[in-house]
Amino acid sequence: MPELPQSLKQALSLVQKPGRYTGGEPGCICKDAAAVDVRMAFCFPDTYEIGMSFLGMKILYELLNAHENWWCERCFLPWVDMKAEMERLGIPLYALESKDPLTAFDIVGFSLEYELCYTNVLAMLRLAGIPLRAAERDGRWPLIIAGGPCVCNAEPMADFFDAMQLGEGEEMLQSICAAVEAAKKHGWSRERLLRELAAIPGVYVPAFYDVEYEADGRFKAIRPNRPGVPPKVTRAIVRDLDSIPPPRDFVVPMVGAVQDRACVEVLRGCVRGCRFCQAGQIYRPFRERSPAVISESARALCQNTGYDELSLSSLSTSDHSRLEEILDAVNAWAPGEHVSLSLPSLRVDNFSRSLVEKTTRVRKSGLTFAPEAGTQRLRDVINKNVTWEQLERTCRIAFSQGYTAVKLYFMMGLPTETLEDIKGIADTCQKVVDLYYSLDHAKGRGVQVTASVACFVPKPWTPFQFCAQDRREALREKQRYLLSCVRSRKVKVNYHDSATSVLEGVFAKGDRRLGRVIEAAFEAGACYDTWEEFFDYDRWLAAFAACGLDPDFYNYRPLGVEEPAPWDHLDAGVSRRYLAREYQKALRAEPSPPCNRQCSGCGADKLLGRPCF
């Protein structure tokens, strides 16, 4: 075991939870740096605790490290105290396995999970001593790439990356590593390497495209500036999930990660088509893993990691057509191996007693459901096909099984929303409380209903991409009104300030010019924007002003159904025609059925090359 350098020991002696910065966790992979051909630093632009909860990193870490001559390591954004010590002591940002600085790597890849992490990416590059903009880097610098859902509108971060991956990384990232290996072997120039990358399905090389704007500032077009570059980049997907089994081992964090359990992805995509939900659109088409693969790899994962809690994850786990089979297969071994099972993302419309019984062998804590809107009309608008009757039935089962806490997720600021809908949130919660007291319940045991109310942000690749975001003042007014509608102490309302949602909305639908704003805000000190105590809205407004751009232009303006959008050169799968159709249906409060029942013709089946069902 190599001795830690003195400067690092000094920094570690001065910061909180130093175990986040030392690596060496069970399951982490160390190789001989001199003996491998490709070194990649997988960077998560947020803290260790958040990044180590992220399944995508675990999937790609195992896949890349399965290549004997490639070595993928992990890197996270150090927390404020450690970042300050590293800057003070001149310690460049390093990867946890080798402790080598990011400049020693061939590829530095970032996962863009959330718009408010954009400044964190710049902070990590700066801490590594790497120039921020792709245009400032030649072939001597590592290849800086990105992946993750935010790439579906890549433009706001396009200036900073050499290549961006649209879609699923399992195959695409391996192709990128192979191209880098070839580039090193044959001594290709950076331009040559980027041309090779641009030919990989799903890979977008921003420098190969020029953007045009209208005189009034609206986005006009984006076109390749070199021959042989595809005018449209189509999202890469794994057609058959069973062809790439889930990870059989995790790096097991020692310093508490947010999600610290074994986790197996049971399906990808979502059949529901909720009109506000970006994940539900951009991860289409719907694909399932088979129960045998799920159970077998879950068992191996629990055995290899020692985890005693297993989560079957996906956007909507209860939509797996063979869920009961999966649960039976897992329950055949889990209790004997002291493993308990949890199912996130349950839905109220197919929640059953047997499901609860099969998943709650150990602990009964709270249950969480997401009606998303307070009235049936608005739920029809957003296509959250959930009724009060279903919610009531679900809560009835939950209460009879001993649950006494229910958490309900809602949004405000949804298209067509009125104060009637806001009042509906409070009424729904109150009806759940009343239901609890109308049933047999343990004497003296009360119920707690928590409404968690988020501000709706219109996202690209959703039917609501055409909508303007609700203004901050309007959201504040609605929050106040909601609180005035709550009359019981059994109902607790959680919401947070809408300033972060405003910025999220701007970046979600923004264009390439926003790169300047992100850089200006970063240079003025913006970082850790997801952490409320560090988010400074005025600093961001100043950055917009300094760049001569108006944030309201991006999120408070509806997007015409025919209007060009900064993500038009990317093809996430679903078609603009389908999105426009769904938007019109939303305005008429007309729901659409789940796509396993009736196809809505979203167009994502072309990625599969066959019908989805």
Partner: protein
């Protein structure tokens, strides 16, 4: 049911693994190893485990131990160590496992090897010359002042290149007198500051080398 004491070293990067995190590490390692350890029989069964005189964060040791219970017959030794090692983080080396001889409460003292920068020599001399070296000890019930000279009347050290090495024994009773070597180090830093030869904690290494019974024999 036999109490098995698993001995391990905790060095290098593992010095930054806290007790809470260490419990999780052992819980998972034991579960993964498939060793026949006893689970509590409550509503939420978990592996029973207990650490004896756990180390403060940042310090290293070659004599840590974790107790578990088992219905299995001895020997445990090398087979248990081999089963546990693959699931351990970098810096934790399982050195052995055996039926516990002593109770955890019998530990009275711990022996430490402390490495300091050569610049600390005047502070060590000042410690030996001082009539009294008070140190403030913070506990859950508030702060109180302890006299270090009562526990360690004098220090002796050896120079090794640009470092100094000293060995000392400090009280380490789980429910009685207990002195964290960091307190001694803190006092030395104060003395170093007064002597105009300051050094920082990160330049020092505290390595626990043995846990001792009241008669000075090793705890096992």
């Amino acid at each position: 049911m036999t109490t098995v004491r698993i001995f391990f070293e905790k060095q290098g990067e593992a010095a930054y693994v806290s007790l809470l995190d260490l419990q999780r590490v052992f819980h998972r390692a034991l579960k993964r190893s498939g060793l026949p350890v006893w689970y509590t029989e409550g509503f939420n069964p978990h592996i029973y485990l207990a650490f004896c005189s756990p180390l403060p964060l940042g310090q290293e040791s070659v004599c840590e131990s974790c107790d578990v219970k088992t219905a299995a017959e001895p020997p445990y030794g090398a087979a248990w160590a081999a089963a546990l090692q693959p699931c351990m983080p970098g810096g934790i080396t399982v050195t052995g496992a055996a039926a516990a001889v002593h109770k955890a409460g019998e530990v009275a003292a711990a022996r430490y090897a402390i490495t300091l920068p050569a610049a600390a020599a005047p502070a060590l001399a000042a410690y030996n010359a001082a009539g009294s070296v008070p140190a403030e000890k913070k506990t859950k019930r508030g702060a109180r002042v302890v006299e270090l000279k009562a526990a360690v009347p004098a220090l002796s050290w050896q120079g090794r290149g640009d470092t100094l090495r000293l060995e000392t024994t400090l009280p380490c009773a789980s429910d009685g007198e207990n002195l964290n070597p960091a307190l001694l180090l803190g006092a030395l830093q104060t003395l170093a500051g007064e002597a105009g030869a300051a050094f920082a904690p990160w330049q020092c290494r505290i390595l626990r080398t043995a846990l001792l019974l009241p008669d000075g024999t090793p705890f096992c």
